[in-house]
């Protein structure tokens, strides 16, 4: 780990720490939504287990995507990115700094939601809870990587926020939560095969019903990791040291 990468991770976490309201929202909102879901499904035994675990994999994608795309856009518009790129920091270190920092934030978020979901709301999964947390953190880092990439295509924060429905909602619709992916029309099923959230929800659903972590679940996680690397590589390509 280079000094610039470590410093960037610490710096992003410091920025988050100074923003108490965002930290509170990051932790409270998903917990409340989880509580709402548990309450909605109180008369449908077993259904909350199915949805609750899947949502643990969906929250971090949405939240980290939004937080990162706005944060990176701010770096671009405030001139701090231009200043950094005139300094001896590699573009990969800059991107990974964000990835690590929001990955750590997401891990804390996932732990808090899990304590509430498993401890308070009676969520029950067959697989190990650490694997559920691992998938949640992977999805969070994926959200960060996608946010870093798409922020290059937004000039204002209004535009950056609009990328959420464009990039995330299709994944939500096609990931298997609304209708099982195998029942989708063939073209849409093929599209869902190349969307990362499909693999996250797949992994979560397997962890809900299977004891232990099967090779399929590991494969899902590996695919998500592949998407992270690809999104970071694309993000690095959008970071130009030279102003046009």
């Amino acid at each position: 780990m280079t000094a610039a990468l470590r410093a960037t991770t610490v710096r992003v976490l410091q920025q988050l720490r100074h923003d108490h309201r965002t930290v509170a929202l990051l932790l409270v909102v998903p917990s409340m939504l989880m509580g709402l879901l548990a309450w909605m499904l109180i008369d449908h035994p077993g259904v909350f287990d199915h949805w609750g675990a899947a949502l643990l994999g969906v929250f971090p994608l949405i939240v980290m995507f939004l937080v990162t795309s706005v944060a990176t856009l701010r770096e671009r518009t405030s001139g701090t990115l231009e200043r950094l790129l005139a300094m001896p920091i590699s573009r990969v270190d800059f991107l990974l700094g964000y990835g690590f920092a929001f990955g750590i934030a997401a891990a804390i978020q996932a732990i808090v939601i899990s304590v509430i979901a498993f401890g308070l709301l009676g969520l029950d999964v067959a697989g190990p809870i650490w694997a559920v947390l691992l998938v949640a953190v992977l999805v969070a880092v994926l959200g960060t990587a996608l946010g870093l990439f798409v922020s290059a295509f937004a000039r204002t924060e209004f535009q950056a926020v609009q990328f959420m429905p464009a990039v995330i909602i299709p994944q939500l619709l096609l990931c298997g939560l609304v209708a099982p992916r195998a029942t989708l029309p063939r073209p849409l099923e093929l599209v869902s095969d190349v969307l990362p959230l499909s693999y996250a929800v797949d992994a979560m659903q397997r962890l809900t019903v299977e004891t232990g972590v099967g090779s399929h679940t590991w494969l899902d996680m590996a695919v998500i990791a592949g998407f992270i690397v690809a999104a970071l590589a694309l993000g690095a390509a959008t970071l130009r040291r030279r102003t046009p």
């Binding site: 000094a3 923003d19 405030s78 001139g79 200043r83 001896p88 920091i89 130009r240 102003t243 046009p244």
Partner: protein, 248 residues
Amino acid sequence: MINVGVDDDLAVRVRGLRVVRGAREVLHGLDFDVRRGIVTGLLGPSGGGKSTLMRAIVGVQAMVTGTCEVLDLPAGSPPLRRRIGYVTQAPSVYADLTVAENLRYFAAVLGAPRTDVDRVLEQVDLADQRDQMVRELSGGQLSRSSLAVALLNSPELLVLDEPTVGLDPVLRRDLWSLFHRFADAGATLLVSSHVMDEAQRCDRLLLVRDGEIVADETEAELLARTGTPTVEAAFLALADRLESGGAA
């Protein structure tokens, strides 16, 4: 007498520098040198190409052709990234961090000694604000916090884009004397301003207008050549000569 032409005396050597932005050429084949160890003022109206020229020297401008050597290396060479201090026009610091957190971060990226944070805080007179959030600083404190970042790691060349704009006269005077202290210590400074009065604070002047260098001399030489009492008047005289088709 300074021996012009010997590269050792030059921090920046520019020959035939052209920059294209979009469909427009904004710098039209510039030739000039920036000497080491002095404060050179880059003066001219907004929109004349000063910031683009500074970005070309720092190596963060795309679509540059011609020669631009900085500290004997082509502009933009990776080794230059820790030898140049650059302040953009907008104060480029993180508003949601304290002054000291900003400096510690950039110091770590530059590999500057940890003691540099305290040194630059003293130099820009922000020691009392070190634990204050940047977003709570006044306008003058904000631009000094951005300047402080450029002073980390004691760069050999400082490229400062309008560092004194909007500051009160006392602060401006203090900053210019700080710039001269750096120059006395051996650093080279290239400082832009659209306020012609600031010419009197500079050892040499580069006047830029519409992407051309219209003057490259000392203030005294410029005033004598144009027969004008102020740099403002000199600039107008040069502009008029160019409009009527003459040479600057």
